[in-house]
């Protein structure tokens, strides 16, 4: 593992934007590349710290599988849920055609 971050190419920035579902305009890509490189350059200091054998700590608490009792509860109404939907048809949320559409 090198101490310096691998330089981030424009192609990689475009790939990450695709993974992140962000339509970044082509003319914005070089600025994004430079900003990410600067941050990754700083973060590279993590590579110099010895971490062998350390268990990763994903969370401050060590709670596991806390489940509530499986009892029926009153939920939100359909109207409440649909109130924030950008497009609806009857009791459904409307979306563009899905089949044959996903280009990723």
């Amino acid at each position: 593992m090198s101490a310096e971050p691998t330089p981030l190419t424009i192609e990689e920035v475009r790939h990450v934007a695709k993974l992140a579902r962000l339509a970044i305009a082509p003319e914005r890509l070089p600025a994004m590349q430079a900003e990410l490189m600067a941050i990754l350059g700083h973060i590279a200091q993590l590579q110099s710290i010895k971490t062998d054998g350390l268990e990763p700590m994903a969370h401050p608490l060590t709670l596991v599988n806390r489940l509530r009792d499986d009892v029926e509860q009153t939920g939100m109404s359909t109207a409440e849920i649909l109130r924030n939907a950008p497009a609806t048809e009857g009791e459904f949320i409307a979306v563009p055609k899905v089949l044959g559409g996903e280009s990723s």
Partner: protein
């Protein structure tokens, strides 16, 4: 034991009546700034909840245009709630411990009332169908939600400049930032536009703005306060907490909000100790840890404030010990892997389908384009940058080098605190290396991230911390507040708050900014 015992040799200090008497009054008007004094006056019928609400609404009308703390104000609903409380009190009926006090809520905390926007275009018209647990608990205790406050978009920032509804301004000097991301809440408290406010803290977002605005900001231990209804940013780091005029107010709000919540599986099941009834007890002996890593790169006024606090604690009889936190300066790097990773995952829910902004572009003909364009239009530049960073560090080939490694270093940071807390009860240092900076004065994202050098590790380790007003920087024109921070071990809120309160008592009442005339 009473607080007097801990104050041996400190009789010249005016702290004994602290926030109880005239010191708690805002010199600009007759309404008390702090929540507990106002609450007591309402209960004694020296004033009414309606008068308090009307007063705060007048203050908001005159000051908010120049400060921009609030995004939305609930005048009619607040007046109705106050009328109800006053009727209960007049009838001699029981009311909650917060009856009639106006509270501001950061706009990333869900309220049925009004909108919950996270200061983002993507949630511009979002109306929550439910109240966050904290809002539910505070309103059940009688608090009145007066409005929603601006933040750096999705709580990502340290200046409140990155807010879709305009920059928030520091009441002490409106050419300067209030800090962030809970800058609207901090500015509202500092300018006396509410009795107290709620903020959220992922890497310093309660404590840093409290420091820059000259008030109290308290981040409880991870899990102490339910996150249900807090729009998730970094789920393993986020914590809601109070931003207040006093430690006494912070303790009371914490007491009313904290505790296990069946709606948040990451809320801590440990019982919450009573912190309000024991708050005035100064511990007979306690140890204050001073990390040498907290002493470089700070403004002189910040170092001087910490030095005065050291003298104060020593004079109280505390033992001052040196502690070693060598990983302090890798906190920002660790944070800027973990927090963006969690954010990129959490913010994936904003896709323009079920709620939030959906693009109207004709070119978004399929689902992928609909997602990508809706998100690009709805998220601001800093949020996009962090989603990109988080997506990158979690992506194939980089996960081990960045994300997994950061989680290992997180464990080292936790172990470092554990070791330090073997020799001290609280760790003392600056909250922020500087006082408030000029709006537009910090353009480099990385430089902005460094504002949180003393606060991020609190969240990384899951421990608790509080920022206290500790004097002023007078070298910059208008006097600017500086803060000190006390940190304590996870679930050590009782001793943290007692020591903070002892410090506060000795300072007397808080000072208020002169209202801006521009």
């Amino acid at each position: 034991m009473t607080s007097m015992n801990g104050m041996n040799g400190m009789t010249s200090m005016n702290g004994m009546n602290g926030m109880n008497g005239m010191n708690g009054m805002n010199s600009m008007n007759n309404m008390p700034g702090d929540l507990v004094t106002l609450r007591d006056q309402i209960q004694r019928r020296d004033t009414t909840a309606c008068a308090a609400i009307d007063h705060v609404l007048e203050q908001i009308a005159s000051s908010n245009p120049s400060i921009n703390a609030y995004h939305e104000v609930f005048a009619e609903e607040a007046r109705a709630a106050a009328t109800h409380i006053d009727a209960l009190i007049a009838a001699g009926k029981p009311t909650g411990p917060l009856a009639g006090v106006p509270i501001a809520v950061k706009d990333n905390i869900a309220t049925r009332l009004g909108r919950t926007t996270c200061s983002s275009r993507i949630l511009e018209n979002y109306r929550s169908p439910f109240d966050a647990t904290v809002v539910d608990r505070l309103t059940r205790a009688g608090a009145i939600v007066i409005g929603k406050t601006n933040l750096d978009e999705f709580a990502m920032g340290s200046s409140c400049e990155k807010c879709a509804w305009g920059a928030v301004r520091n009441p002490w000097d409106t050419t300067r930032v209030p800090g962030g991301s809970s800058g609207g809440s901090a500015a509202a408290v500092a300018a006396n536009l509410c009795a107290a406010a709620l903020g959220s803290d992922t890497g310093g977002s309660i404590r840093q703005p409290a420091s820059l605005c000259g008030i109290v900001g308290f981040k409880p231990s991870y899990g102490r306060v339910s996150r249900y209804g807090l729009v998730a940013f970094g789920s393993s780091l986020d914590q809601i907490g109070p931003i207040t005029h006093s430690v006494r107010d912070a303790a009371l709000l914490y007491q009313c909000m904290a505790g296990d919540d069946p709606l948040d599986s990451t809320s801590a099941p440990q019982l919450v100790e009573d912190v309000t009834s024991t708050l005035e007890e100064t511990p007979r002996s306690f140890r204050v840890g001073l990390p040498k890593q907290y002493r470089s790169g700070n403004d002189a006024a910040v170092d001087a404030a910490v030095a005065r606090a050291v003298d104060f604690f020593r004079a109280m009889g505390a033992t001052i010990v040196d502690v070693d936190l060598p990983l302090t300066d890798v906190g920002i790097s660790t944070y800027y892997v973990i927090a963006p990773a969690e954010a990129s995952s959490n913010l994936a829910r904003f896709d323009g389908i079920r709620y939030g902004h959906r693009t109207t572009s004709k070119t978004a003909s399929d689902l992928f384009e609909l997602y990508a364009q809706s998100r690009a239009e709805g998220f601001g530049p800093e949020v996009q940058r962090r989603i990109m960073l988080g997506t990158y560090v979690l992506s194939a080939g980089y996960y081990d080098a960045y994300y997994r490694r950061a989680l290992q270093i997180r464990r080292l940071i936790k172990q470092e605190f554990d070791k330090a807390f073997e020799s001290c009860d609280v760790i003392l240092g600056p909250t922020s290396p500087t006082a408030a900076f000029k709006i537009g004065g910090m353009t480099d994202p990385l430089a902005m991230y460094m504002c949180d050098v003393y606060t991020v590790n609190t969240n990384i380790a899951g421990i608790c911390g509080i920022s206290l007003p500790a004097g002023f920087d007078t070298t910059t024109g208008r006097p600017l507040p500086v803060g000190i921070q006390l940190q304590a071990q996870a679930f050590a809120e009782p001793i943290l708050l007692k020591i903070a309160r002892a410090y506060e008592r000795a300072q007397g009442g808080r000072e208020y900014p002169t209202p801006s005339t521009d």
